[in-house]
């Protein structure tokens, strides 16, 4: 009988990723990247599968997942909002933009709205310090932001 028959589509894809990196040193981060592409985020069950496949402690996987803002423990929204809290954006008042986003969306950093439309994350420097403060919604970049811009931008989505 097929070994993978009782696995769902995503589990099969994840198994392929494990097979691909089977003999690679330092495979954790690339494996997590691909796992997140498959699932959209990295729930504990996926992290456990990664730990078992790479034969490393689950705590090590969790440590790496929580270190990089790219990796998410929660499902992301259809529109992923990333507000830059790097030094330049921060001194230009990115914190106030973040507060306004939280107020408008009713969620905290790392969360998604109930309808799954938006998710909110803080990130460190998107490389556009010249137009600080900056946020990105999926691939759209919004610069030189003021608190009053937030509501109008969100309406576009």
């Amino acid at each position: 009988m097929c070994q993978n028959c009782n696995l769902d589509e995503n589990q099969k894809k994840l198994q392929e990723v494990f097979d691909k990196y089977k003999d690679t040193q330092g495979a954790l981060i690339p494996v997590l990247h691909e796992a997140q592409e498959i699932y959209g985020y990295l729930p504990l069950s996926v992290q456990e599968a990664v730990a078992d496949a790479l034969e490393i402690p689950l705590s090590e996987v969790y440590g790496v997942v929580t270190f990089y803002t790219h990796f998410s423990l929660y499902p992301k929204g259809k529109y992923k909002i990333q507000i830059c809290l790097g030094t330049a954006c921060y001194v230009k008042g990115a914190n106030n933009i973040l507060e306004e986003l939280k107020k408008q969306l009713g969620i905290d950093v790392g969360q998604s709205t109930k309808d799954g439309k938006f998710s909110l994350d803080a990130c460190r420097c998107v490389g556009a310090c010249g137009i600080a403060p900056v946020m990105m919604i999926n691939d759209d970049v919004y610069g030189s932001l003021a608190v009053s811009d937030v509501a109008d931008i969100l309406k576009k989505y």
Binding site: D52, S59, T66, T69
Partner: protein
């Protein structure tokens, strides 16, 4: 080997290639302050306390900077002192500085460093971390408000023990030593070995304190309070009272405990002798009847939990013998109670152990209520101080009888290879009718992590192995699994070096650990007691002989099994509750 010429503060020394500046400085008798550094365990240059000038643009961390030919190092200058001090002030800025009530008050490496660097003011007012204290585990308490992120604990947990219960989580200011999903240490794969406690420079990890429960029992006139002390306690507790490492203080310790109000002061070693009788019999039975081999010892509760999480396929290999701590409790509440006409429900058994996992063990449902409270060597030392007893001037005393007569075989349980040696002394005698030549047992003495020997017993080659430290246990079990090794008998101790280096032993600061091997020194104390003992084989213990004659019949009997044996359970590999 290539020798390099280096100059440390003007002092010329020759060092082998690969030597760090920190080690070279030691040769030159130059003291460089460190905080995160712990020899062989954590050498990562994280805390920046050991910054030195190596002539380059930036100061370098001496603990990880390798010497090169002709290197000139300056370890102390106004600039270096200023930078070190500012770094320490930043570490202190958000450290919970409740030193007076801290478990590590006066035994804190951060406190000592602040004094050494003459920090008298903390100019940076950091936001308090306000993190919750995790005190759900039976063995270990974690207080991240005290943590300095040195990573010694995560290093020993991951690299030496290969448990990986804790790691560094999150990032930046939120960085924290934690578990997966920030769960309680009780709800992950922690085995309670407590090695993290022994390496923590501050009071961020410590044992669950049970001293009040002991005082309460002593105070209760209805309770018959019995205390037992494990072999390794006598080899370590002297350090709490200023004795050099490796000083056996059995007489002083018993004398001090006798002043505290216990009804009886007994020796766990007697139960260790009993363990040997049962485990030796189990080994012989398994060999004779084709039972599951290798037989693996079950005295170390840290190892047991590790096996339950990581190697459930070996659960049937574990000896079904309870550990000496539990056998002792079972014995007191049955045989001893009956003989002395005491209601077992009134007996309160306190165990003093070099171990934090023993707390978890005494609480296991499989162990009934054999032992009421298990405290560490450190907790006993605290109680002695609290009772106003001047340990050093106490008159030496002897354990109470009948459970105070133990043999040298019981004493050496505390060192890696000791249980194996004790068992082989008796098993050899049963099979050969004469005592084993001690020389044959030398390969399983010493502090190496994995030791092997093959002994000729009754015309058979018996292959034995002793492993200490769970990373070494993992290696041995994988070799057995792959068929690379064919052992009959394996001793596994969770802590590197065995119980003498247990997670409940006195904490030795890095400044001393970096210089001497505490495992070897404390083990010497045990072997010296063994040498002096009247009886050196468990089967010679008069109490044990009486116990079987009057009560249990013979080792491995039905009654012995009921009282002295147990079973184990498979546990989730990662998280207790999904």
């Amino acid at each position: 080997m290539n020798l390099l010429n280096v100059t440390i503060d003007g002092i010329k020394v020759q060092v082998p290639e690969g030597t760090s500046v920190l080690d070279a400085a030691k040769l030159a008798n130059v003291d460089i302050p460190t905080l995160c550094y712990l020899k062989d365990i954590n050498e990562i240059g994280a805390c920046r306390m050991c910054l030195v000038d190596v002539g380059g643009r930036a100061l370098q961390a001496a603990c990880v900077y390798p010497c090169s030919e002709g290197l000139k190092v300056i370890t102390n200058s106004p600039k270096i002192r200023d930078i070190r001090k500012a770094t320490l002030e930043l570490i202190l800025s958000h450290h919970d500085r409740s030193c007076l009530t801290c478990i590590r008050n006066q035994n804190c490496e951060l406190q000592a460093l602040a004094d050494k660097l003459n920090v008298r003011d903390i100019p940076f007012d950091g936001a308090p971390k306000g993190l919750p204290i995790d005190n759900i585990s039976k063995s270990i308490v974690r207080d991240n408000n005290k943590c300095v992120l040195c990573r010694r604990c995560t290093s020993i947990c991951n690299n030496i023990q290969t448990v990986g219960a804790i790691n560094v989580m999150e990032r930046g200011y939120e960085t924290v030593v934690s578990t997966t999903d920030h769960r309680s240490i009780a709800d992950v794969n922690c085995v309670n070995c407590g090695q993290c406690i022994n390496v923590c420079p501050v009071g961020a990890i410590y044992e669950k304190d049970n001293t009040q429960a002991v005082w309460d029992a002593i105070k209760d006139p209805d309770k018959y309070v019995v205390i037992q002390t494990a072999p390794s306690v006598r080899a370590g507790i002297g350090e709490e009272f200023g004795y050099p490492i490796g000083t056996p203080v059995t007489g002083k310790m018993v004398g001090a405990i006798k002043k505290m109000g216990f009804d009886k002061v007994f020796d766990t070693d007697t139960a260790a002798d009993l363990t040997i009788m049962e485990e030796g019999t189990e080994l012989l039975t398994r060999i004779k009847t084709g039972g599951k081999l290798p037989l693996i010892t079950s005295c170390s509760p840290g190892w047991i939990k590790f096996c339950e999480h990581e190697f459930p396929e070996f659960l049937d290999n574990l000896s079904t013998c309870k550990s000496p701590q539990q056998m002792f409790g079972a014995l007191i509440k049955s045989y001893y109670a009956e003989k002395n006409n005491i209601d077992p429900s009134k007996i309160f058994v306190v165990a003093v152990m070099p171990c934090t996992a023993k707390k978890f063990e005494s609480d296991r449902e499989e162990m009934f209520n054999d032992v009421d409270v298990s405290i560490t060597s450190r907790e006993l030392a605290r109680m002695i101080r609290e009772a106003g007893i001047d340990f050093r001037s106490v008159e030496e005393a002897q354990f109470d009888n009948p459970l105070g007569e133990a043999t040298g075989a019981g004493v050496i349980f505390g060192a890696t290879g000791g249980v194996m040696e004790a068992a082989l002394r008796t098993v050899y005698y049963i099979l050969e009718g004469k005592r084993i030549n001690e020389e044959a047992l030398m390969p399983i003495r010493g502090t190496e992590g994995i030791k092997e020997a093959t002994l000729k017993v009754a015309g058979m080659d018996v292959n034995v192995c002793a492993a200490s430290g769970l990373g070494n246990a993992r290696k041995v079990l994988n070799m057995v699994k792959n068929g690379e090794k064919n052992y009959h008998f394996i001793e596994i101790m969770a802590c590197p070096g065995g119980c003498v280096n247990g997670g409940g032993q006195p904490i030795v600061p890095a400044s001393i650990r970096n210089k001497i091997d505490i495992r070897a020194e404390r083990a010497k104390a045990l072997y010296s007691e063994d040498k002096r003992a009247t009886y050196r084989n468990s089967d010679e213990n008069p109490f044990i002989q009486k116990f079987y004659k009057e009560y249990a019949g013979e080792p491995g009997s039905h009654k012995a099994h009921e009282l002295l044996h147990t079973h184990y359970q498979k546990r989730e590999k990662h998280l207790k509750n999904k």
